[in-house]
């Protein structure tokens, strides 16, 4: 038995050696409570907002770079680096800029910086391509006034400025592709360091121009694509804010004693697009029947454990200008009515239909689609599911009009009731399954209308037409964003997936 103990000794010493071998990672910065630690679902690819426009990336970009207008937590927007704007004529908007603002590197913020930035957005090969395609260029009026010259009238213009993050011209030109790895802006935080995959740190900008000084000294961002890892990080108190907690993990956070759940009604709206060009769904009675056949309340209660909002109607969100509230009554679950409508349309025994959807892109997407499939079955509609990974899905449904119906869960980028109409109801656009000549004309007129009150009325008319007469979608629900927040901070979630760091404070 002698060799047994010697083997144990060898094993033991090897394990100790192994522990010593473990090299030191970067040390944990900011001792004490000065830093807020945040875990997001994915790491930015770039902090250049022309290249990476994913919300989880913009959450960080937004602390460093600032745009001309600022979106408010519950919809709408307010002046920011722009003080005011006004349409000189339908194709020319004059924007007055804030004075006395400096970039972190000392470059001045002025009309030249804005002109440079617009040019960068127009020329980009990145994801922001197309965002400003209605702008043909800019003209400097004086150092703090700039004209945007549009190629087509666009009343939506001020809302789009929320994503025109302004670059410091000299530094951006010199850094080129590397700007995204060490950005410079005018924001409340300056970039400190980014160790790839590990963490990114930003520190309070002591000379920030805003009335509200940064409330915390430093923010540390890290990333965990796996939801159980984010939950564990929050439940152990290793982070202060964790994004995107699945409903099933809520209890773990609540039992942890160190963190709590914070939620917000998301602007991400789930709906199903139907093909208006071929198959049974060309008949509006069929499309109505589909709406009456889906029991959204049960799906929310059972599948989402109550953590979704519905049933929704129309496309203008509560809190946005023009929201019509009770004037649009959501479709009621009524399988008998659905069957009658199907019989009227000539399908007393139902039909078969293809149902395209993502797997794993949105919360419970596959499960939701399967529940809907089961409900449709009850009125005789037999849906064949075509589930795909997001990459394959988007390329498939946007490169052709796929037959049947397809699942969508999209959130507006710009805080304007125009957002969905722009993408979904203008002919020829890749996702515009619901467009016809009427909707296209409506949207065109609403875009061109510069009088805000008249524009809203046009939009509301469009919404009523789409919801009541045209019925291109099956309306479903709005999601809930679920976060974990540590008990040592005060913080509230907002509806647009950004994180409000200006209101964070330590308890």
């Amino acid at each position: 038995m002698k060799h047994t103990s010697s083997l144990l000794r060898v094993t033991g010493s090897a394990l100790i050696a192994l522990a010593l071998l473990a090299p030191l990672g970067p040390s944990q910065a900011a001792p004490g409570g000065a830093a807020a630690r945040v875990v997001l679902a994915s790491e930015p690819r770039s902090l250049d907002p022309t290249i990476d426009t994913i919300k989880t990336s913009l959450v960080i970009t937004h602390t460093i770079l600032e745009a001309l207008v600022l979106n408010k937590p519950d919809g709408g927007f307010q002046p920011h680096l722009a003080e005011s704007w006004q349409a000189v004529d339908p194709l020319r908007w004059r924007v007055k800029l804030r004075r006395g603002v400096q970039f972190h590197n000392g470059e001045p913020f002025n009309a030249d910086a804005v002109a440079y930035t617009v040019d960068a957005f127009l020329k980009t090969r990145g994801e922001a391509r197309g965002w400003f395609s209605f702008v043909s260029g800019t003209q400097k009026v004086d150092p703090f006034t700039i004209d945007f010259v549009l190629s087509e009238a666009n009343s939506n213009f001020p809302a789009t400025l929320a994503f025109l993050y302004v670059f410091p011209p000299r530094y951006h030109a010199q850094a080129a592709a590397e700007f995204g790895t060490r950005p410079v802006g005018t924001g409340p935080y300056r970039f400190v360091e980014w160790t790839r995959g590990n963490q990114m740190r930003v520190a309070a900008n002591p000379t920030y121009w805003g009335a509200k000084r940064p409330a915390i000294g430093e923010i540390q961002f890290r990333w965990a694509p796996d939801a159980s890892a984010r939950t564990a990080l929050a439940a152990t108190g290793e982070v202060d804010i964790a994004q995107n907690i699945p409903p099933a993990q809520i209890e773990r956070i609540e039992r942890s004693g160190v963190a709590r759940i914070e939620t917000a009604r998301s602007l991400r709206r789930a709906f199903i697009r139907m093909n208006l060009g071929n198959g049974p769904t060309t008949d509006v009675r069929v499309r109505r029947a589909m709406n009456h056949a889906v029991d959204v309340d049960t799906i929310i209660r059972v599948l989402f454990r109550g953590r979704a909002y519905g049933r929704v109607a129309g496309f203008i969100y509560p809190g946005f200008e023009g929201y019509q509230g009770d004037k649009l009554q959501p479709y009621k679950y009524d399988p008998d009515l659905a069957k009658r409508l199907l019989a009227e349309a000539g399908y007393p025994n139902g039909f078969e239909i293809t149902f395209w959807h993502t797997i794993g892109r949105y919360a419970l997407d596959k499960e939701s689609v399967e529940a809907i499939q089961g409900q449709l079955e009850r009125v005789g509609v037999r849906a064949r599911l075509q589930g795909m990974e997001a990459g394959a899905y988007f390329s498939r449904i946007s490169s052709e009009r796929v037959p049947g119906m397809n699942f969508a869960a999209s959130a507006p980028l710009f805080m304007t009731p125009m957002y969905h109409p722009l993408i979904e109801f203008r002919n020829k656009l890749p996702y515009a399954y619901g467009a016809n000549d009427v909707t296209t004309q409506f949207v065109k007129e609403a875009i061109a209308e510069t009088n805000p009150a008249k524009r809203l009325r046009r939009l509301q008319n469009l919404e009523r037409y789409i919801f009541e007469k045209h019925v291109p979608w099956i309306w479903l629900w709005d999601y809930q964003d679920i976060y974990a927040a540590s008990n040592r901070i005060n913080w509230k979630a907002r509806s647009d997936e950004f994180l409000s760091f200006e209101d964070v404070s330590f308890r």
Partner: protein, 306 residues
Amino acid sequence: MLAYISRRLLLSIVVLGGVTVIVSGALLLSGDPVALILSEGLATREQREELRRELGLDKPFVYQYLDFARGAVQGDMGRSLRYNRSVSAIVGERVEPTLQLSGTAMLLAIVVAVPVGILSAARPNTWMDCAGRALAFFGQSVPLFWLGIMLVLVFSVELRWFPSAGRLQANSLVLPAVTLGLLPMARIARVLRASLLEVLGADYCRTAWSKGLSERRVLVQHAVRNALLPVVTIMGLQFGALLGGAVVTETIFAWPGLGFLSVQAIGARDVPLLRGVVTLVAFLSVLTNLAVDVLYAVLDPRIRYA
């Protein structure tokens, strides 16, 4: 020997060529990167076509691949579609964490598996053997993702001994390395036990016993050395598997390595980036296999490569 090594290295170019063809083809068949880059829906069809042209995605597959191959031969792996940075730079940042993780996991596996395997074989059908076999059985059957989550629940959430994810502290390495190391540990222990049992029954071991040698000398000098050949083979194979297992482990523990990166690259249909990662991993596997073959010759003087 040198001639043999250089021939093997030349052959590895063929392997890498095959690997990159398969990766590029599979990714292109499964979805269009442009639809993902411009998924917001504000870009028109014309803008999509334009981007496709600029990225070279409008060319036939063969031309796209030849473009890549031309660059790769000169050491240029191209530019990532999504990061807008050079693939070599992005991949370079992720090599060290992965090598650190899989190296530690392998070391851990060997350090545990070798004594367990030897004890199991030296004392067959005792409680030690049973325990060793149970450990091997557990290690081979437990799924990585489940083990990782359980370790986090016990050692991070409940006991607070180790961080649950990330790579910010030195002890962040422990849980992912244990998770990743368990499977190779089980395999090595099993193979070592089996091969030792076989060797211990061989004539030369009986001779060694009958000469009156101590158990330790019989085991260490006669049996283990001869039992090592299959073990070294399995170690080489396991190293390749480790790099694969790193995809799951790195995702669970948010470990910033190649596995983590490749999951993101696949999600974005970033062909150049994924091709870079896979080429590197394939190259590492080829090198490991070569090292194993060379080790054979060192361990067994009868093996000679001409």
